[in-house]
């Protein structure tokens, strides 16, 4: 550690900041609204956009594959190929085309999320009890009605677990997006890595972890609320 002030100029350093303790609550709260909150909000935005797009795309592909079996192989091939390309490498490939932009980040994030979303959703659709589908067909529901009234509702647990895994994964990947755009908690972490000041590093890192845990918990809760029937046996 050097004797120099650890950060160039953040005003009058408190004793905690001057000592560079592992976490200075005063500094953290003082910079919440200018530093942490905007980064957190950007992080949430990038994640929601990526998971939302990825989910819609993967859901459409999974439904198509469920209806038209031949579509499964090419779709899985593309999704798994995109999944095997590390996000950093994908950024590298995209920057010459789409520049240092949100678009670059989102394309890479969506591409990375498709595989898990597609396979989990398709499995969910395929695992719907065949009795229920047969009964629905026999009662004269159309293919579309069976999809919306029987198959998708029964696949909700799979949809939710796909969303949970992908959201947590994407929150982590968004942090790497700081190499491309100056946004999100990742850019704070990147800055913190280049300086020995602990509060910035621990504060932004902890926020990323807290965000992942919160998102996971909220999705879990939403899933529970959407599937009262799945718990009915226990409450009976």
């Amino acid at each position: 550690m050097s004797d120099q002030p650890v950060l160039p100029d953040y005003g009058d350093p408190s004793p905690c900041v001057a000592d560079n303790a592992s976490f200075c609550t005063d500094w953290f709260t003082a910079h919440w609204s200018t530093l942490f909150w905007p980064a957190l909000a950007e992080h949430v935005e990038l994640t929601v956009l990526a998971v939302g797009f990825g989910f819609v795309l993967a859901l459409a592909a999974a439904v198509l594959a469920h209806f038209q079996g031949w579509f499964t192989a090419p779709a899985s091939f593309v999704a798994s190929f995109l999944y095997t390309v590390p996000p950093l490498a994908l950024f590298q490939l995209l920057v010459p085309v789409t520049g240092f932009s949100v678009l670059t980040v989102e394309i890479a994030l969506v591409a990375y999320s498709l595989y898990l979303l597609f396979t989990t959703v398709l499995t969910g659709l395929r695992e719907v009890p065949q009795d229920a589908v047969r009964a629905a067909t026999g009662m004269g529901l159309t293919r579309r009605q069976i999809l919306f009234r029987v198959e998708l509702p029964l696949a909700v647990p799979s949809l939710v677990s796909a969303l949970r895994i992908t959201t947590v994964m994407t929150i982590g990947t968004v942090a790497i997006a700081a190499y491309v755009i100056d946004a999100g908690l990742g850019s704070l972490i990147l800055k913190a890595l280049q300086s020995p000041f602990n509060t910035l590093f621990i504060g932004s890192g902890a926020l990323a972890v807290a965000l992942a845990l919160t998102a996971d918990g909220l999705l879990l809760l939403a899933g529970r609320l959407l599937t009262p029937w799945a718990r009915s046996r226990r409450n009976a």
Binding site: P129, D131, A132, R134, A135, A136, T137, G138, M139, G140, L141, T142, Q145, R149, V150, P153, L154, V156, T227, P228, W229, S232, R233, A236
Partner: protein, 329 residues
């Protein structure tokens, strides 16, 4: 049991299988081969046969879950080929072995399935659901809000029947509907369905591989053999008395004489006057079957039973000989 066509209820419709063939693509032999039979309106026809004899296939051709590769099926005189499959299915009740209830919907929502796709008004649907759940002994107040996982197997099966009846279809198809139930529950649900059928009088095609169930439920029984060919189509008592060939005889079982007796009741016989000597005889109600009477006589070592009528009146006695004659008649 079987009834005069003139008393056939409005709404029920005759089903005709006319030289129906179903060959699945790639299969060496047809699953159903040249099947012709007529189910009169309002009757229960049981399709009986060993596994793989094409019972399910025959049933699924009625609501076009499978398309015949030859011949024709007519409901109320109209060929099913001329009907839109979706409309056709909405006009036919369909019950399968596992009930096939939608696990994510409440009992009331399950029963409301067909009225909803038919676009019934909310109030009418709600009233119909309540009426049907009452009909199958599951009052909507207690059971309507539950999920299928919160019911017993027998209750789920009854919901399956209520759901199939929702739009008051003239025809019902039931594929081993009670096959997954334990014997006691099965017997109970069978009795309930028969009582229900007495009131609603739909034309029912009922698949079973259990001869006892067939004899109990069927106005007529169609015995299918492997390869989906019809071996015999008759009323239960004829089937038991005169099996058409060795296959049917083996299928109905060596105890077909006893099964026949279970179709007859003491009240079907003319009791002999009970003399002084009838005091120590075992007694049975008039609605008991001849099979029960025979069993009692064998167990007690007597050759007569006393018949008790309603209000405990004594109607007389029935002898072993009379039972034997009735069984052979």
């Amino acid at each position: 049991m079987s009834q005069d066509p003139s008393t056939a209820p409005v709404g029920a419709q005759e089903i005709v299988f006319d030289r129906v063939v179903k060959a699945y693509p790639g299969a060496a032999a047809p699953a159903v081969d040249d099947l012709s039979l007529t189910v009169p309106a309002g009757e229960i026809c049981v399709l009986l046969g060993p596994s793989g004899s094409g019972k399910t296939t025959a049933l699924m051709m009625v609501n076009r879950l499978a398309e015949p590769t030859g011949g024709d099926i007519r409901i109320g005189g109209r060929s099913v080929r001329d009907m839109d499959p979706i409309e056709l299915r909405r006009s036919i009740g369909y019950v399968i072995q596992s009930a096939g209830l939608f696990p994510h919907q409440t009992i009331a929502d399950n029963v409301a399935t067909v009225p909803r796709v038919l676009g019934w008004a909310k109030k009418r649907t709600r009233e119909r659901v309540a009426e049907l759940l009452d009909l199958v002994g599951l009052p909507v107040n207690e059971f309507g809000g539950r999920y299928p996982a919160q019911l017993s197997g027998g209750q789920r099966q009854r919901v399956g029947i209520a759901r199939a009846l929702a739009a008051d279809p003239p025809v019902m198809l039931m594929d081993e509907p009670f096959g997954a139930l334990d014997p006691i529950t099965r017997e109970h649900v069978q009795d309930e369905f028969l009582a229900l059928h007495d009131r609603i009088r739909k034309t029912v095609v009922f698949v079973s591989h259990d001869i006892d169930e067939a004899v109990k439920m069927g106005d007529r029984i169609a015995v299918l053999r492997e390869g989906g060919r019809l071996a015999q189509y008759d009323e239960p008592r004829t089937l038991l008395k005169e099996p058409a060939d060795a296959f049917v005889a083996r299928f109905v079982g060596a105890d077909r004489g006893l099964k026949r007796l279970s179709l007859l009741r003491l009240s079907d016989l003319e009791p002999a006057a009970a003399g002084e000597d009838s005091a120590g005889l075992p007694e049975l109600p008039a609605e008991a079957t001849l099979r029960a009477a025979l069993s009692l006589m064998v167990a007690q070592g007597t050759d007569r039973v006393r018949v008790r009528g309603a209000d405990d009146t004594r109607l007389g006695t029935v002898s072993l000989d009379a039972v034997r004659k009735a069984g052979a008649a």
